[in-house]
């Protein structure tokens, strides 16, 4: 617990430092924040264009796809804001600058995650939330119960934890494949894209893979399908809709373990 508190404190200090540094180039910051807002908007425009041509995608209406989009994008945005910078670990392993982090009296993961903390990534969170709120307005035929209402913020938070764990896994993987940051992207960015569409669009093996192997489906699909009153994917029982926090906890624990193993195996470049 003490370690976690220390990590959070270090994270906060480093993040604040980077925010100050970003504010030096105000024009550039304003532009990045704006374009970050537009990032999500642009790929949501793609979904709107699709629905300009069709009434449903994989049997799902526009409001339902927007709901899936909003939940995964907000979760992904939060994870990206907090942990996205861990993708840079490979570069630091390559050029040996990770050593500086190791000698500082603060948890390395906190330092790595807060390194060059990018406040502009709030743009993605804001855009995701915007679509999510809008989808709640246009959604039709959802039988809202208190449980379903609670599930919406819960899936955003647990989804962020699952995405954040995957990013940490990716960072730990960099200790071996120093140049392979893109592999992690295919699970994080790729997962985000995948979860924007209903599972009925994808092949059965792919859906089973993200339910039972890399549990991306618990970011939003499983709880969201329950909210929408649809069947759970890949033959899961209905109560699985409430399993997301458990899945997230397991992911966080495993990611922490992977990071520990990774950093133990780290040998500096020694050049």
């Amino acid at each position: 617990m003490a370690l976690a508190a220390e990590g959070l404190r270090a994270y906060g200090l480093i993040a604040v430092m980077w925010i100050r540094s970003t504010m030096t180039y105000r024009f550039s910051f304003a532009m990045t924040l704006l374009s970050n807002l537009t990032v999500n908007f642009f790929d949501f425009v793609v979904i709107m264009i699709m629905f300009g041509h069709v009434r449903g995608l994989g049997g799902f209406a526009f409001g339902e796809v927007a709901f899936l989009y909003g939940t995964t994008s907000t979760a992904f945005g939060l994870a990206d804001l907090a942990m996205g910078q861990t993708a840079r670990v490979g570069r630091r392993v390559r050029d040996g600058t990770l050593d500086t982090f190791l000698v500082r009296p603060a948890p390395v993961l906190a330092q790595v995650a807060a390194d060059r903390f990018a406040l502009r990534r709030l743009g993605r969170v804001a855009q995701g939330l915007l679509v999510l709120v809008w989808s709640l307005v246009v959604l039709e035929g959802v039988d809202w119960t208190p449980v379903k209402v609670l599930l919406v913020p819960l899936m955003v938070v647990t989804g962020a934890l699952i995405f954040g764990s995957l990013m940490t896994f990716g960072a730990a993987f960099q200790f071996w494949a120093q140049d392979g940051a893109e592999v992690a992207n295919s699970f994080t960015y790729g997962g985000n894209t995948l979860l924007q569409y209903p599972p009925s669009v994808f092949g059965a093996e792919l859906v089973r893979g993200v339910v039972y192997v890399v549990p991306l489906a618990f970011v939003n699909w499983v709880p969201a399908l329950y909210v929408l009153g649809r069947e759970a994917p890949a033959g899961l029982p209905p109560w699985a809709a409430f399993a997301s926090p458990l899945v997230a906890a397991v992911c966080v624990a495993l990611a922490g373990l992977a990071w520990r193993v990774g950093i133990r195996s780290y040998r500096s470049t020694g050049s």
């Binding site: 550039s28 970050n36 699709m50 041509h53 069709v54 995608l57 140049d179 592999v183 790729g190 669009v201």
Partner: protein, 266 residues
């Protein structure tokens, strides 16, 4: 000429040494190819012949996008990172002293990079796509050659755009914002997410006229044999026109920018 050829070859070799990064890129392109291919199938099942493509053509389009993503640096990650870094740190002053043209130097380096990416990150995802899905391939062998010419022009347009982006750092000092706007426009207006022929009304017309269209939509249409004979020349003309205009703009901006360089003695 020999100098620039050496720069090109050196850049090809340099990128060829990033083996793990290339393998990781191939993996990512393949994963995204699968995700996109499934969404396209859902879309084209609802609306066959959407945007003038049948299902096999739409699927080929998906994999062409993944194959060309790194080649035409639609999301950046080409030469611009390095050039921006050199401008920021002032190393650019050293480059300006070299007896070589700055734009031509980076053009050659980028061409070497793109050539490697075409082999390294283009062929494998395309093959994976062709094996896993029923995709449309050219009927005439000559189409492959026509396609390669179009890709070459696409690389020129992409270079010209990213060169402008990089030079803007002379004024902005920090490239992050412009770079993001550039890759954002690249992904959306190149037709990477959805073919530009599917874009509705005025948005579609504007998108098809912008330079980014030459980076994926046009080469894909050449590949799918929707641009043959006279139309092929039209396609080349469109790409070459943008390339020349943007390269000229880059040259002009370079002239203004280099006058701003102040070399600090140490």
């Amino acid at each position: 000429m020999r100098l620039y050829w050496a720069v090109l070859a050196g850049s090809f070799r340099r990128h060829a040494t990033y083996r793990v990064a290339t393998a990781a890129g191939v993996f990512t392109n393949t994963v995204f190819g699968f995700i996109l291919a499934f969404t396209y199938m859902a879309l084209w099942e609802e609306r066959p012949r959407l945007g003038g493509y049948d299902m096999a053509e739409a699927l080929a389009y998906v994999w062409l996008g993944q194959a060309l993503l790194a080649v035409t640096s639609l999301m950046g990650g080409g030469f611009e990172d390095e050039l921006i870094q050199r401008i920021k740190t002032g190393d650019i002053a050293v480059d300006l002293y070299r007896p070589a043209d700055l734009q031509l130097w980076w053009f050659s380096a980028n061409l070497g990079r793109a050539a490697f990416q075409l082999l390294g990150r283009g062929v494998v995802p395309m093959t994976a796509g062709a094996l896993a899905f029923d995709i449309a391939l050219p009927e005439h062998p000559a189409t492959w050659a026509a396609f390669l010419v179009s890709v070459l022009l696409a690389i020129a347009v992409s270079f010209a755009l990213w060169y402008l982006v990089a030079l803007s750092v002379f004024w902005l000092l920090d490239g992050a914002g412009v770079v993001q706007v550039a890759w954002l426009s690249g992904v959306f207006f190149s037709g990477m997410l959805l073919p530009l022929t599917v874009f509705p009304g005025a948005l579609g017309e504007v998108a098809r006229a912008l330079p980014w269209a030459s980076m994926l939509q046009v080469p894909a249409d050449v590949f799918l044999e929707r641009r043959t004979g006279r139309a092929l020349l039209g396609a080349y003309g469109f790409q070459a026109g943008w390339a020349v205009a943007l390269l000229a703009a880059g040259r002009a901006l370079q002239a203004v920018a280099t006058r701003r360089v102040v070399v600090q003695g140490g």
